[in-house]
Symmetry: C2
Subunit: 214 residues, 2 copies
DNA sequence: GTCTATAAACCGATAGAC
DNA sequence: GTCTATCGGTTTATAGAC
């Protein structure tokens, strides 16, 4: 930390993360990374050991970059018990924050895309860390949220509800291109993201109500 | 067809499809494909022209392999107008057929995974064909199904409902590894798939009801 | 800490024998 | 239609000069 500026190192992580997210691990060469980062290829071995270690580093970087945990934060300030009307505003806020990442300029969407890709390509190392530090906590938080409304919800039902919510949101990231094609758009615009967040919320609340009345 | 046994060719398509689905285009070498197919590397150039053309061929093969269109088939035999109770059985059947692909041995799950990967990795060619012949028709069918229950549904709402349904199902394929890890299972078993199909149906019907009463 | 030069392995493609 | 042998290019990684 004392004798390293960390400038090149950070530039490499940033460039690598973006390239890995868009082209995948195998589709990204260390030369492309170095070029994008304005650094030398040898710097990758020097700073990280190799391409695989750099990949791991980019994943950890995204996982630990405190982008905020919308669900957790809502849980902390919400009432211990919620009605269907009370939970709607919370879920909508969460959905909006998730969807905001898809189009935000300051926090580029490749981060969440990198995580999704890592979960998809189970081969390449460090999936363990992504699951335990990102996926599992998010699912657990969503399950807790569901139980604020329906306390007697079984583990299985709460989990299915959480998967259903995450699945709907994730869909817009991992099949982005087909969705945009069908929409006839070049990129997600704010209007569509708002409507999508609104619908996902409606769906989640309605599903919760259906689970309660079973 | 007359002077080719088609044995090697078919074996190559099958082996390539499975490898592309699991490791991606860049992560799969023609040597690995040839070995898995029990053929020679040169056979790939001979039969298809090159690796890229073989990839295209595997995609077209999956798209055109008439695995059945559950939604379309239900639409054809269902009443022109459906109540919420009437649609539930149909949606459940559709969901079950989708989920059955995740664990079936005879119709291997890598086919749908290959399609999803192609939609995710928008770079590699022939995405157009996958969208137009698989994604768009499925979405259109789902939208038509929604309108059997809520005829006055707007395009936007019908589409969001379709995306929501597809998203939930796709989630279990796309993030298979993390989901299995959280479930503490090695692979999807019939019991879980049944419960998941049941929940997705409940969620879809409840969402439809919510859209109708808005 | 940065760079050039290069090693060693692998890649896709194919010429040419059978 | 199948195979071996090989070409030319690219990959990751690193030794060694600065």
């Amino acid at each position: 930390m004392a004798d390293e500026r960390g400038d090149t190192k950070q530039a490499l992580i940033l460039a690598a993360g973006e390239l890995f997210a868009e082209r995948g691990f195998e589709g990204t060469s260390i030369r492309a990374i170095a070029e994008k980062a304005g650094a030398n290829v040898a710097a990758i071995s020097y700073h990280f050991g190799g391409k695989g270690d750099l990949y791991t580093r980019t994943l950890l970087d995204v996982v630990h970059s405190d982008t905020g945990r919308p669900v957790r934060e809502f849980l902390e300030r919400a009432e211990p018990q919620l009605g269907l009307e009370g939970v709607r505003g919370g879920v909508l806020g969460i959905a909006r924050r998730f969807f905001a990442r898809l189009a935000s300029a300051e926090r580029p969407p490749w981060r969440v895309r990198l995580l999704l890709r890592a979960m998809f390509e189970s081969e390449q190392g460090r999936l363990e860390e992504v699951i335990e530090e990102s996926f599992r906590p998010d699912i657990a938080d969503l399950m807790a949220l569901a139980r604020r409304v329906v306390p007697e919800l079984s583990d299985r039902d709460a989990m299915l509800w959480a998967f259903g919510f995450m699945g709907q949101v994730a869909f817009y990231i991992f099949v982005r291109e087909p969705v945009l094609r069908v929409l006839g758009k070049e990129r997600y615009d704010q209007e569509f993201l708002d409507e999508a967040a609104e619908y996902v919320t409606t769906s989640a609340v309605a599903s919760l109500a259906a689970l309660r009345s079973e």
